[in-house]
Amino acid sequence: MAALLAPVATTKPISLPCALVPSTGLHGNLGSPRRLQWTKKMQRLCVRKAGPGKVTAKFELKPPPYPLNALEPHMSKDTFEYHWGKHHRTYVENLNKQIAGTELEGMSLEDIVVMTYNKGDFLPPFNNAAQVWNHDFFWESMKPGGGGKPSGELLQVIKRDFGSFEKFVGDFKTAAATQFGSGWAWLAYKANRLGVGNAVNPNPSEEDKKLVIVKSPNAVNPLVWDYYPLLTIDVWEHAYYLDFQVSSVIIKGIVPAFPYSHLCRVSRLRGRCTRAAFARISLYARNFIVYCECFSAD
């Protein structure tokens, strides 16, 4: 389970305790200046927790959790070979080169993403780090034979926050299809529905938390806003161009499905919503989405 909760971390020993250190978790405090401050103390904390000799210095290109032809016809093997075998690999290799010998070496990928985001003033490794994270997450967001519809409490949360499952799917597709340029569409969990930067709710409650659909440009992902990503769709052209080409591509069949929703104990989030708890929900969610039927308007 630990490995699954930290899908990108080759630095497994430190990824769980440290992955989200710069954040104060999902109890609000979105956009707080405190959130992104990366102190030497935090750094030392991570390194110490990892213990000597346990840190893998380099990130590895992890294979998708299914064969490269497993998502056909929605995503061809050819696309996958380039997308994973070339694009994803290049991000990993370039990231490793960029962090070698720097203070970033040995940190978890999530930490590097949040730290190098640097309040929107990206440090050089940001694009590669975030793209490694995004692609690892994207492969997990799809599954052969996925699709369908969630049930249980997760469906209730979707209904609560989007009106209906169908509305959610429609909104998700619209978000994906209307990204102006390269980027990503996300289903994410947001701790504070007010969306007020720097606001801290002294009495956080379930009502503060909300599922949201967000778009992000280029390499940016919701971790940098302190949202918890659940599902994603890559809308860079390289994700679909070999298969579908046309710019007016309609992301039709992004059908997030949660057939094991009885496992998704959303209720466990009600009292104390921790990132680890939400990661469990995320795991289930991610395993039951399928990225299908991108097709051209023509």
Partner: protein
């Protein structure tokens, strides 16, 4: 003012049926729509630097989509303005910028390219050649700089050789997504734009963007860039 004049024309029945008028312009409900310009060469004419398949999709699908969506946004804008719906007017700005920018950029891009037998790849002469040599040292220096900027550009966008028409100064600029060069400065004029969206090269070059950037210079139409330079230089 222009709108008023066009509206009167529309009332006279010149464009009230939504038909096209003039080159690249149409009159619909009192505002000018844009149309997809023809390519000044065949789709296959830039091979092997850029494949016919890419050119066809790029022109007929991508550029056409920018044209259609820009016109659609204009129509929605017109409606919003007539209803005094300020919120919608503001909301439409992003679609107008993106699709209008896409139309502007691609219209320049097609003219920036030419088949080899029609002078594609021939270095600039006359005043632009001189300006490049004095300001950058050599043409090669511009090629290297633009290729470096293009390869480093994260996501979708454009790399430009720009002329600041107030001072005849040349510069290399990048813009994100479909932002036109004018968003980088009101007096900047595009002499040469290189599309580094993945759709510009992916079917042929896949993930190897540097090869696309290397080969496109074989079909760059410096003659067009020179003409713009001479026209826009004070």
């Amino acid at each position: 003012m222009a709108l008023g004049r066009l509206s009167r024309k529309a009332l006279l029945g010149l464009g009230g049926n939504g038909g096209r008028l003039g080159i690249g312009l149409g009159l619909v409900r009192g505002f000018e729509t844009v149309t997809l310009p023809d390519l000044p060469y065949d789709y296959g004419a830039l091979e092997p630097a850029i494949s016919a398949e890419i050119m066809l999709l790029h022109h007929q699908k991508h550029h056409q989509a920018y044209v259609s969506n820009y016109n659609k946004a204009l129509e929605q804008l017109q409606d919003a303005i007539s209803k005094g719906d300020v919120s919608s007017v503001v909301k439409l700005q992003s679609a107008i910028k993106f699709n209008g920018g896409g139309h502007i950029n691609h219209s320049v891009f097609w003219k920036n390219l030419a088949p080899v037998q029609e002078g594609g790849g021939e270095p600039p002469k006359r005043s632009l050649g001189w300006a490049i040599d004095t300001q950058f040292g050599s043409l090669e220096s511009i090629v290297v700089k633009m290729n470096t900027e293009g390869a480093a550009l994260q996501g979708s966008g454009w790399v430009w050789l720009a002329l600041d028409k107030e001072g005849t100064k040349l510069s290399i600029e990048t813009t994100a997504n479909q932002d036109p060069l004018v968003t980088k400065g009101a007096t900047l004029v595009p002499l040469l734009g290189i599309d580094v969206w993945e759709h510009a090269y992916y079917l042929q070059y896949k993930n190897v963007k540097p090869d696309y950037l290397k080969n496109i210079w074989k079909v760059v139409n410096w003659k067009y860039a020179s003409e713009v330079f001479e026209k826009e230089s004070p």
